[in-house]
């Protein structure tokens, strides 16, 4: 490991560490959020210095942009509303939009197609992965550890989103005749699409996340039409949300113990393993999405 870092890198590294500590320790919330925004910007620069422009972009957009916007919004809602100054808002919006557009144009115009050797390597190895679509091959074979962590994040987000709801959710709704007709017409179509997207993922765009979105939509429709046993509340719902991550971890352990290493899929059974794990993940993701929807439904008559 070489310590060949320049002055700029050293300053950047120190700045990131200082900003991280300051963001936690600064007593005032507004100052804390401001420091956090600086931290996000510095971290994005650091990723860029590490030759990881994609992660730098993700950090800038998600860590700095979206999270920062949410934090500022949360701060603003705590304070008494100042009378809106529309003209000022419009001017700031136009200026910020122009800057963002120009910055994005600069970055995009410098990109030279897919970066480096990776697409060719994926194409060379795709026959051994058990998936014919490069995205599926990357998600569930080459970089399956990333996907495992993503599933863990999704699961944590679902439980966090339902934990902050007021628990007055998801009682079964009554079904009238017309709604039952809608459910009977639409639910089979949704189920068919979910399965198709799951299986399509092996050869073309599709896979667990898309199928999971369909499962979630189907569960929401089932709940709204008053279909029985469609609630994702309670132990069963929780078990179904957890089962995706558990299955993924079990696969990782069993390949580590009995196979060639963590999440190394054998060529002969890789496609079966991928389809199996994607099916379980689709159920977990779908139930999780439906649960977020149900947990955030307000009782009638409440202020919205």
């Amino acid at each position: 490991m070489s310590l060949d870092i320049g002055v700029f890198d050293a300053l950047l590294l120190t700045g990131v560490l200082l900003a991280a500590v300051a963001a936690v320790l600064v007593p005032r919330r507004t100052a804390s959020v401001a420091v956090f925004l600086v931290f996000g910007l510095l971290l994005a620069l650091l990723w860029a210095r590490l030759d990881a422009p994609d992660i730098a972009l993700a950090e800038a957009v998600l860590g700095g942009g979206v999270t920062g916007a949410l934090l500022v919004d949360a701060l603003a809602s705590k304070q008494p509303h100042a009378p809106p100054r529309r003209l000022w808002t419009v001017v700031v919006g136009i200026v910020a939009g122009t800057i963002a557009f120009l910055a994005a144009a600069c970055v995009v115009s410098r990109l030279s197609g897919p970066t480096g050797e990776l697409p060719r390597l994926v194409d060379d190895q795709i026959a051994t992965t058990g998936a014919e679509h490069p995205v599926t091959a990357v998600l569930l074979n080459f970089r399956s550890f990333d996907t495992l962590l993503e599933i863990a994040v999704v699961m944590a987000a679902v439980f966090a989103a339902t934990a902050v709801s007021d628990r007055s959710w998801a009682r079964e709704l009554s079904a009238s005749g017309e709604l039952r007709t809608i459910a009977m017409a639409l639910l089979p179509v949704v189920a068919l699409l979910a399965v198709w997207m799951l299986i399509a993922g092996t050869t073309r765009p599709g896979g667990a996340f898309q199928a999971g979105a369909m499962v979630g939509a189907g569960l929401v429709i089932a709940h709204l039409t008053g279909t029985r046993h469609a609630s994702t509340r309670g132990r069963w719902g929780e078990a179904l949300i957890v089962v995706g991550l558990v299955a993924f971890i079990l696969l990782a352990f069993s390949t580590a113990v009995a196979g060639e290493g963590w999440l190394v899929l054998g060529e002969s059974w890789a496609s079966a393993a991928i389809l199996g794990i994607e099916a379980v993940l689709a159920v977990s993701i779908g139930v999780g999405l439906a649960r977020i929807f149900l947990a955030n439904r307000n009782e009638p008559g409440e202020a919205r």
Partner: protein
């Protein structure tokens, strides 16, 4: 052909943006549904039309066109049903 396709896709994108702006800016569920259900379906329609132009000018088979139209039909049906369900359940919980 490319100009026509780009025009259709751009118009579709504008309607989608308008629908999304409505979803974000309107104050309550019925007005939001109103924005999304109408503007997004129109936008999707224009995008589908643009893609059909693209498909035809590339000489792909009629099957692709039928599939694109099916996608639009399913989206129209789904939006109508979902908007209805959400609006109805707004009243009785």
């Amino acid at each position: 052909m490319i100009i026509l396709m780009t025009l259709l896709l751009a118009v579709g994108a504008i309607f989608m943006i308008a629908g999304t702006a409505g979803l974000l800016r309107f104050p309550d569920l019925p007005t939001r549904l109103h924005a999304v259900a109408k503007a997004d379906n129109l936008g999707l329609g224009f995008i589908i039309l643009g893609l059909i132009v693209h498909t035809v000018s590339n000489g792909a088979g009629a099957g692709v066109v039928v599939k694109l139209l099916l996608i639009w039909a399913l989206a129209l049906l789904g939006t109508a049903v979902n908007s209805h369900l959400l609006a109805v359940r707004e009243d009785d919980g």
